[in-house]
């Protein structure tokens, strides 16, 4: 134990600092750290909120991967979704940032490109539903019919085959913003001297500049963008629900988060839903770690 004098010393040295940190620490522990541990613990139980949790071993996980076909569909949809929207959003936002950085009227372009990502997913799904409307009033059906490509309107949000692609298009449209903003700022921060030095060392064109100077100096921003797009693309939910409904036809728009929501807050099977959350946690966290290794710049 501390002697009183020791505590006084400690307080004089660190007391103020910890007082500043305390509000954050309490809330962060209560709503982030403890919940992660809590979710992992709950995933090994049966828990319906009314009765006490009952230890269940790995039952939930076994059920999830061997017996729950809907979960496997959700997993497949989320993976397809993530592996398409993640990379497309990531590279598109980098390329656009790179091009816009060299343009005049940078801010106007930046706003046009960034605006979709600060709008509400729900609100924008409403707008996109006008475009992908299932009757001939929909813009896209109308256009395709006029061009003679189709004769009957396509049931965009009802046909299991087109649901996921529609969700992907809307999400890509909405997801490019944050990464884009970080990349643009990173690009503006690279000092001109680096490019001058590169020119002396024999770099001839914009493309070589990009590979040898721009990308390496932007590692921290690239890493942030990657983590951001992983978390967002695996967490797809509100856009999917408002476009395809829940449950969607043939579960074509069902995602991991939708499954979690279904079991946790409709059926109140918290243990099982926590297992779903843990699977989501492991996927995003391990992908995040891989990118940390790939794009680390700690030693530089």
């Amino acid at each position: 134990m501390f002697k009183e004098g020791n505590f006084k010393n400690w307080w004089n040295r660190y007391g103020i600092g910890y007082s500043f940190l305390l509000p954050f620490l309490i809330l962060f522990a209560l709503f982030v750290v403890i919940p992660v541990v809590y979710a992992i613990a709950l995933s090994f139980t049966h828990y319906n909120i009314i009765q006490k949790p009952k230890f269940a071993g790995i039952d939930n996980y076994r059920l999830l991967f061997t017996d729950d076909d809907v979960f496997l569909i959700a997993l497949k949809n989320t993976l397809i979704f993530a592996f398409i929207t993640g990379p497309i959003g990531y590279f598109a936002s980098f390329i656009v940032a790179w091009v816009i950085d060299q343009l005049k009227m940078r801010n106007a372009f930046a706003l046009a490109f960034y605006a979709p990502s600060i709008t509400s997913g729900i609100a924008m799904s409403v707008v996109w539903l006008y475009f992908f409307s299932n009757d001939r009033y929909g813009f896209i059906n109308n256009l395709l019919i006029k061009l003679g490509i189709i004769s009957k309107p396509i049931l965009w949000t009802l046909d299991p085959k087109t649901i996921l692609p529609v969700i992907i298009i809307v999400s890509v449209w909405m997801s490019m913003g944050t990464g884009f903003l970080v990349f643009l700022a990173g690009l503006q921060n690279i000092s001109k001297e680096l490019y001058d030095a590169g020119a002396v060392d024999g770099i001839r064109n914009k493309f070589q500049e990009l590979i040898y100077i721009t990308l390496p100096s932007m590692k921290p921003q690239l890493l942030f963008g990657a983590i951001n797009s992983i978390v967002n693309s695996f967490g797809v939910f509100d856009i999917a629900v408002s476009i395809a409904g829940m449950p969607s036809p043939n579960y074509a728009g069902h995602t991991i988060v939708a499954h979690l929501y279904d079991y946790a807050f409709i059926r109140f099977d918290m243990g099982y839903a926590s297992a779903v959350a843990v699977v989501l946690f492991i996927m995003t966290y391990s992908l995040g770690q891989i990118f940390m290794k790939l794009l680390s710049s700690k030693d530089e």
Binding site: Y14, F20, L21, P23, F24, L25, I26, L27, F28, F31, V32, I34, A39, L42, A110, A112, F113, Y114, A115, I118, T119, S120, G121, I122, A123, M124, V126, W128, L129, Y130, F131, Y137, F139, N142, W173, M176, L181, G186, Q188, M218, K219, P220, Q221, L223, F224, I227, I230, N232, F237, D238, S242, I243, A244, F265, S274, A277, T284, K293, L295, S297
Partner: protein, 267 residues
């Protein structure tokens, strides 16, 4: 490039144009993109017609505005203070804490939603504004961004102030915060956007109709997914939900650009 800008801005332009369309233009066939005779009828409908359904639309606007503004204010203060402590006092375990914060950037908030629900219900906060505010104050990203920024401020400023007899809180409030204006302006934008648009938290924490926020109401106004009913009021509501975030961003844009350069992760 032009095509891309078209892809990003067309739906927004259409949204704005539709909100001002009179009835006969809403149901026109073939559909027309731009409004011919703009009218405010849709907005009038939205704010008055819904009155008959017990709760006026303005109540939902208030709910969203109130919870968002309080959350933004609280998170900026709490996360800036925490970041200041980690960046400028050599606290034991500060590194460990910061590493946990970085780790928390790497998973989606949905992971913690079930325990959060249980905790919020234990604290008897379900169906209150606090359920939408308190869990969203300590945000890993916000602390992370502020810390990157505060670290750049030389210690000599702080030492000089201390010699002049300034207390630690005064240093934080009158030196650190003014120098970090770009950083917390950015936080205001991000936090405003994410709380204003948040759909998941009110969905699970709020059942009472009079406490619901705009995203929930907008969705039920859409008549459930897949169909477009009450087109006029819906178009106006979409407009009302979307415009505030764009205005907030426009006001802060130049500061945001300055800050984002600090948001890289060294790893």
């Amino acid at each position: 490039m032009g095509l891309l800008v078209l892809f990003t801005s067309l739906p927004l332009i259409y949204m704005i144009s539709t909100a001002f369309k009179p009835y006969d233009e809403l149901f026109l066939y073939p559909p027309r993109f731009f409004v011919r005779k703009p009218t405010l009828q849709n907005f009038v409908d939205l704010f008055t017609a819904l009155d008959s359904t017990v709760i006026p639309f303005s109540r939902y606007v208030f709910n969203s505005l109130f919870t968002t503004v309080v959350t933004v204010f609280a998170t900026v203060i709490v996360c800036s203070m925490g970041a200041f402590a980690i960046a400028k006092y050599k606290l034991p375990y500060a590194n460990t804490i910061f590493n946990i914060v970085i780790a928390a950037l790497m998973f989606s908030p949905h992971v913690t939603q079930i325990p959060n629900y249980l905790i919020v219900s234990k604290l008897h906060l379900l169906n209150t504004y606090w359920a939408l505010i308190i869990p969203k104050i300590a945000v890993a990203y916000n602390l992370f961004l502020m810390k990157q920024f505060i670290e750049q401020i030389p210690d000599t400023y702080l030492d000089a102030a201390r010699i002049d007899g300034a207390g630690e809180f005064k240093i934080f409030w009158q030196i650190i915060m003014p120098m970090c204006k770009p950083a917390w302006s950015t936080l205001i934008v991000f936090s405003f956007v994410s709380n204003w648009n948040d759909y998941f938290s009110p969905l699970i924490f709020i059942n009472r109709q009079e406490l619901k926020t705009l995203p929930l109401v907008l969705q039920s106004l859409a008549g459930g997914p897949g169909q477009v009913a009450r087109s006029g009021a819906l178009a106006a509501a979409t407009f009302v939900v979307t415009i505030p975030t764009i205005i907030v961003f426009l006001i802060m844009q130049s500061r945001v650009m300055k800050t984002m350069a600090y948001s890289g992760i060294k790893g």
